[in-house]
Symmetry: C2
Subunit: 283 residues, 2 copies
């Protein structure tokens, strides 16, 4: 069990020979207490281990991955720490913060907002890409040179965009059913308008397909799993857009269409093993 | 996906190549709609498969096992169907039904109540031991000759007592942190008094250690995992009582004290693989 003066322990429970904890700390980026889950595998008792950040989707907290993904078993086998942040600031009391499932609380979209009132606390991009890794690299028994990132849906969008912009921090990336181009889907258009305003040029910095076109990706292959029975596939997720962007830049993408799977954690849990092994191969 | 005229499909989702469903049916024993989870492994497309009933603990519904236990992966690998009933009738509107976490809703204790008003609907013993197997043996692609049962805490008590009294139905049994002698712990004393009245002789029919003394067990070894950091260990669970009862009757019991584990689904998930393999060996 990790004890740090930088964060408070909410819970710590033995799991697959390691420890699954939930912590809370005062974030400077979001200006509020933020929770995150940490699974430390047993190997960390002997040496620093690689770490994998998991970004969750709309409506989720740090708890969904911790409880539903079944990742601790594989993390313990492979010796990978698993870090599961929350998906937005909480309790900032902005008007309309809790009015919709796809904007505000539970829907930070991993951007740094520029529009009022969101720009003060809705800074999930800086929180995930800098503040939390700086904190955890210092406080946990993890190897800062071996960090990967993955996520689901809105969190797949977050993982892809943050990895593409911070390859020095995140050496491997994968996603389950990601929003690959928020500029071109209703969830993304709503969120980016609300957080960034109506100038679509500003949105490109948070669009994975645009970032692939502009920056490329020199890291290992990108792994994406997408269920064919996912009700959001055609309207929101559109994996063909990232396939085309990667093909145009000859960036290796392993996009796997999984027959009959939906958008749930039953889908995620089914392919969790493959994703952790993918990251373990490159970290 | 299974479609039956005998139950209604609440959800059906692909998981590890099989299907995780939640169904609802009108139970004659409880007199109310009852939900249960069913995981059908991919092997059932080709032949009837063995099935394993999981009885959950206090406060749980059918959902806890379905979402948190991580059992579908192993069920799919071994070709075992997984059946997760609810833990009590729901919505019977008895006075005080919802007043306590350890009596009434979510706390049926797998007995047939004899005290008013509970005796009408609180018949979880007959529901689990007869009504539900009769229904599911007829409606699911499972082999009625290869059924096992396990459970957690109150559900471990349920699994042990029901297997001991129905070895013709349940051929194998295991438990996570079970209440092994409800006659001798506060949870059990409260529940048995409320459902059965104050005559302790009537309680013996629902006490696993008493049943071992009276009936024995000619089936395969009983597997029990118990965490040493379980906060209920000394006051409620008392595995030493079943160890002594089995020893006196030379009944094979594999009681494993698991260092540092608590009473949660993190503990259950850690040892789920061992339990499913235990049942697969004997079914």
């Amino acid at each position: 069990m990790i004890v740090s003066k930088k964060f408070e322990t909410i819970s710590a429970q033995k799991s697959f020979g390691g420890t699954q904890s939930v912590y809370r700390h005062a974030s400077t980026e979001t200006g509020c207490p933020m929770r995150f889950g940490v699974f430390i595998p047993p190997q960390a008792a002997h040496r620093p281990v690689p770490a994998l950040y998991y970004l969750a989707g709309l409506t989720c907290t740090e708890e969904n991955f911790v409880v539903k993904a079944g990742a601790q078993r594989i993390g313990a086998e492979l010796g990978i720490a698993l870090i599961a942040p929350d998906t937005s600031p909480r309790g900032l009391h902005y008007p309309s913060e809790d009015d919709a499932y796809d904007f505000g609380s539970g829907a930070g979209f991993y951007v740094d907002a520029t529009e009022a009132p969101w720009q003060t606390g809705y800074r999930m991009y800086s929180y995930i890409s800098r503040e939390l890794p700086d904190l955890l690299n210092a406080e946990l028994p993890i190897d800062p040179a071996r960090i990967g990132i993955f996520g689901h849906s809105m969190g797949g969008h977050g993982a892809l965009t943050i990895a593409l912009k911070h390859p020095e921090t995140f050496k491997s990336v994968s996603a389950f059913a990601p929003i690959v181009s928020p500029m071109r889907c209703p969830w993304g258009e709503k969120a980016l308008t609300g957080y960034l305003g109506t100038d679509r040029n500003a949105w490109r910095a948070y669009d994975a397909t645009a970032l692939i076109e502009e920056r490329g990706w020199a890291g290992p292959p990108i792994l994406i799993d997408q269920g064919t029975a996912d009700p959001f596939l055609e309207r929101e997720l559109k994996p063909e857009l990232i396939r085309a962007a990667c093909a145009a830049k000859t960036i290796p993408l392993d996009l796997r269409m999984q027959d009959g799977y939906d958008h749930s954690y039953f889908f995620i849990a089914t392919f969790m093993d493959d994703h952790l092994r993918h990251h373990a191969r490159y970290l």
